[in-house]
């Protein structure tokens, strides 16, 4: 954009949202040019700015959002809704520049009604602040993504987020009772919280990843804050025994808040088990999995295939963490004991310790990425889901596919009566930036393809963004893609909203 055009853009947007709420400075634009897509961290380390919006604006009201969208539409400017930029699939990156609309000024909890179990929240509210405020009313949303400190309600709804306690409370789409949004034509629409018979428009807007509308508020179901908890760690004989236990716990009608199984390698990284002598990981692996990645991680991983072979020697034991929360200690205990009867069939009771440690460190694990990049290695995660009949084959297929490029860790969380999600972490060496990027791309492609071919969905809770958009046709099929385009054309006829995402 030419300087004169930028200047008029600034003036026009300032007229809508005020002088203090529009920015075009280079640092701001660079900051909003990336999200937490791992490769963007590599670019940033190199000082590369690959994408940047022309301008960032912070609207304060729905009316301002409407005016900004109409303005962008009239000038054919791309518009990217931005929550907190924690997307790991390049969902919030402005691929075609234009206007980035950061919703964080619309960050208030509008109402809490615990009696009818509803809260109305503005889209830009950051997760932890929401929980803090709900807590004052002795309520909880029950949505605890690891990114709770750096993600917003709008981002959750837009990307179909899942929290750590989803086995009990469900994913964000299960909590969504209503929303207000501004479409690509600048029209405001409201759905819910009363349930209309017939089609559920909420489920079309949920997961729309900024491509159909800018979400401005959401009505979410809330729960009384639990006051009691009963928890346990188990060492399961094998991954298969662990997966079967997850299934049987659900089958028995139990819905624990926490139910997570770590594969042998991830069990070590979770570090929650006091290891006996025979369970100590090989030194190389221990180094690679050091609580904070050591400087020599890249060297330690010089040959992922070799490391993986060494890892095959790790005893196949898997850590399982289970916890029930509620309003009475007795009920939690009763439910825990019912679960323990099932878990004992496939594993050994380790007491409360591992579960306690899990609670303490539940949000810290995910924030180690930049340390890994600093240590001449790369890391990324891939979260998929499958029905129980396919879970183990997806697990094996992905490990096989990425064996040469990266060390593969996996945990199984977010369970349902019919299946669960598999959360893979890939860690590979990056002796040079270029080699690292090549291996990264190859590993990612191979892993994703293997998962899809084994019957898993493309994403369970990170969304599609830009990085998985090319694989979406395999997921939805031709007819599904046609329907999706049609929905896009209806909500955003000029295609200004978040171009390049979902629909590549």
């Amino acid at each position: 954009m030419r300087p004169a055009e930028l200047e008029s853009l600034r003036r026009d947007l300032e007229r809508i949202s005020g002088i203090r709420n529009v920015a075009l400075s280079a640092p701001t634009r660079a900051l909003y040019g990336r999200d937490l897509y791992p490769k963007a961290q590599v670019w940033q380390r190199r000082g590369e700015v690959r994408y940047a919006p022309d301008v960032v604006v912070w609207p304060g009201t729905v009316d301002e959002v409407q005016r900004i969208v109409r303005y962008a539409r009239a000038r054919h400017l791309p518009l990217t809704p931005f929550g907190a930029g924690s997307s790991v699939v390049a969902g919030a990156m402005p691929l075609r520049a234009g206007i980035t609309v950061d919703l964080k000024r619309m960050g208030r909890l509008l109402s809490v009604d615990l009696a009818s179990r509803r809260a109305v929240v503005q889209a830009g509210m950051v997760g932890q602040r929401l929980e803090d405020e709900l807590m004052r009313s002795y309520a909880t949303l029950g949505h605890f993504p690891s990114s709770i400190y750096c993600s917003t309600v709008g981002g959750w709804v837009a990307a179909r987020s899942a929290g750590q306690l989803s086995s009990h409370y469900g994913k964000i789409e299960d909590m969504l009772l209503g929303l207000t949004a501004v479409t690509g034509t600048g029209d405001e629409l409201r759905v819910g919280p009363e349930r209309s018979p017939g089609p559920d428009l909420l489920q079309l807007l949920c997961g729309s990843e900024g491509t159909l509308a800018v979400i401005t508020d959401a009505t979410l179901s809330i729960h009384p804050l639990p006051t009691a908890r009963a928890m346990r760690g188990f060492r399961m004989r094998s991954v298969a025994a662990g997966v079967e236990a997850l299934r049987l716990v659900f089958r028995a009608g139990l819905r624990p808040q926490v139910l997570r199984l770590y594969d042998p390698l991830d069990s070590l990284s979770a570090g929650s088990e006091r290891q006996g002598r025979e369970e100590r990981p090989p030194r190389l692996v221990a180094q690679a999995l050091g609580r904070a990645a050591s400087k020599s991680l890249g060297y330690a991983l010089f040959s992922p295939a070799l490391v993986n072979r060494a890892l095959d020697l790790v005893p196949p034991r898997s850590l399982l963490v289970v916890s029930f929360e509620g309003d009475s200690r007795a009920t939690c205990e009763e439910e825990l004991h019912a679960a323990m009867d099932i878990l004992r069939e496939g594993g050994t009771d380790l007491g409360e310790g591992p579960a306690r440690r899990w609670y303490l460190r539940r949000h810290s694990q995910s924030y180690k990425q930049s340390a890994v990049f600093a240590a001449r290695a790369w890391v990324d995660t891939m979260e998929v889901a499958a029905t129980w009949d396919r879970v183990l084959s997806v697990f094996e297929a992905v490990r096989r596919a990425v064996y040469r490029e990266a060390m593969v860790l996996c945990h199984f969380s977010h369970a349902y009566l019919e299946g669960c999600s598999l959360y893979f972490t890939f860690i590979g060496p990056a002796p040079t930036v270029q080699k690292g990027e090549e291996d990264y791309d190859r590993a990612w492609r191979a892993g994703m393809q293997a998962a899809q071919e084994a019957g898993a969905t493309l994403s369970h809770h990170h969304g599609v963004g830009a990085t998985k958009a090319r694989r979406l046709p395999d997921e939805l099929g031709d007819a599904g893609m046609r329907l999706l385009r049609l929905v896009k054309r209806t909500f955003d006829p000029d295609g200004i909203l978040n171009p390049g995402k979902l629909l590549a």
Partner: protein
């Protein structure tokens, strides 16, 4: 529907045997879309999704209109009862695949053989078909523990306006964009005809407990149900009866006995069923239900915001009046009477115009238009 038919009669698509009747019009086997405006309605019974694809493709070219439901002027009414195959329920995943023409009671019978169940269904639903259950107003929803609504359909197959076959992936949840199944769920056939669905079943409860509590009025009965739903893990079913002056609740699964104890008192027996008004509504609507003057109610799918239910009326002739009144206090009336998505409930601003536009785009030639 004045365009000439350029590629043959309906039976070319489905075979002559599938064309059941042509009311007040051409004889069986001779139904032409182009002849329908003359007051002819036809009923066609496709034997497969393939048949249906060909039929829709033909209808499109001849600018004909197709619907699932009773025969209507100018439409080809589909009878999907041939699409009634039910696969063996999978005990491991608690899933079953069924054709959209399968009766829910038949699905339930198969489920029970495998130790599974569709869960509590209102009386009128037992005779419904899978397609109508899912495409109808309640979207095939039931409550799942700990007390939230979820549709029974985990994956769908449907024939779209362009005769293509849509198939969604069978996965417990996903984050792969908008959930497109929701164009078909509750869509009343506007976006396509459901031919097959994979349905979620529940394990049949190993633990069950029932309790009855004395109540003085419908109002008190609703209060008791609302309380139980709010506390999480609501009863699977609840019924109230004016004559008995009790509300009875059946709890299943973990802690059923404890929850039943918390709910009320003594054991209870069965009773006879009369005329029903089936509704879906928020607790606010339920709290205002007394003027409908029901003799009894039965609630299923109790959740924090409301419940589906059947109101039992003394005089079946009262049904029309009661259903009008039910709408007025915010209920969605499932039966008697056809239910249309009611924009007055829950949709404001651009929601309805957008939905209409979406339906128009999804069916440019109006094959599924009403």
């Amino acid at each position: 529907m004045t365009a000439a038919l350029d590629s043959g009669p309906a039976w070319q698509a489905t075979g002559p045997d599938a064309v059941l009747t042509a009311l007040a019009g051409a004889p069986v086997g001779q139904v032409r879309f182009a002849e329908l405006p003359e007051g002819t309605a036809a009923v066609v019974k496709p034997a497969s999704a393939d048949d249906l694809q060909r039929l829709v493709s033909l209808a499109q070219r001849a600018r004909g209109r197709v619907l699932v439901g009773p025969p209507r002027l100018g439409f080809v009414a589909l009878d999907l009862s041939e699409l009634d195959q039910i696969e063996r329920p999978d005990e491991k995943t608690c899933l079953v695949q069924a054709g959209s023409g399968a009766l829910l009671e038949a699905v339930e019978a198969r489920a029970i053989q495998a130790g599974l169940t569709l869960g509590p269904l209102l009386p009128g639903y037992r005779a419904k078909r899978v397609g109508g259950w899912l495409a109808g107003p309640t979207r095939g929803e039931r409550t799942i523990p700990p007390g939230r609504l979820e549709t029974a359909a985990i994956a769908l197959e449907a024939v779209l306006w362009d005769a293509s076959l849509y198939r969604s992936k069978q996965t417990p949840r996903s984050a792969t964009g908008p959930d497109l199944d929701h164009l078909l769920l509750g869509g009343e056939g506007r976006f396509g005809i459901v031919t097959r669905a994979t349905l979620r079943l529940f394990p049949r409860a190993l633990v069950e407990a029932a309790a009855a509590r004395s109540v003085a009025s419908l109002k008190e009965a609703i209060e008791a149900c609302h309380e139980a739903a709010k506390a999480g893990l609501p009863p699977a079913e609840a019924r109230w009866d004016r004559v008995r002056g009790t509300v009875e609740a059946r709890f299943t699964g973990m802690g059923a006995a404890a929850r039943a104890r918390r709910f009320g008192g003594q054991e209870i027996g069965g009773r006879k069923v009369r005329a029903h008004l089936e509704v879906a509504g928020s607790w606010r609507a339920w709290h205002a239900a007394s003027p409908l003057r029901p003799e009894a109610f039965e609630l299923v799918a109790l959740h924090a915001d409301g419940a589906f239910g059947a109101l039992e009326l003394v005089d079946p002739a009262e049904a029309e009046r009661a259903s009008e009144h039910a709408r007025a206090i915010g209920f969605a009336v499932v039966s008697p009477g056809r239910l249309r998505p009611d924009p007055a409930v829950g949709w404001t601003g651009a929601a309805l115009p957008l939905y209409r536009e979406l339906a128009r785009l999804a069916d440019p030639s109006g094959v599924f238009a009403r």
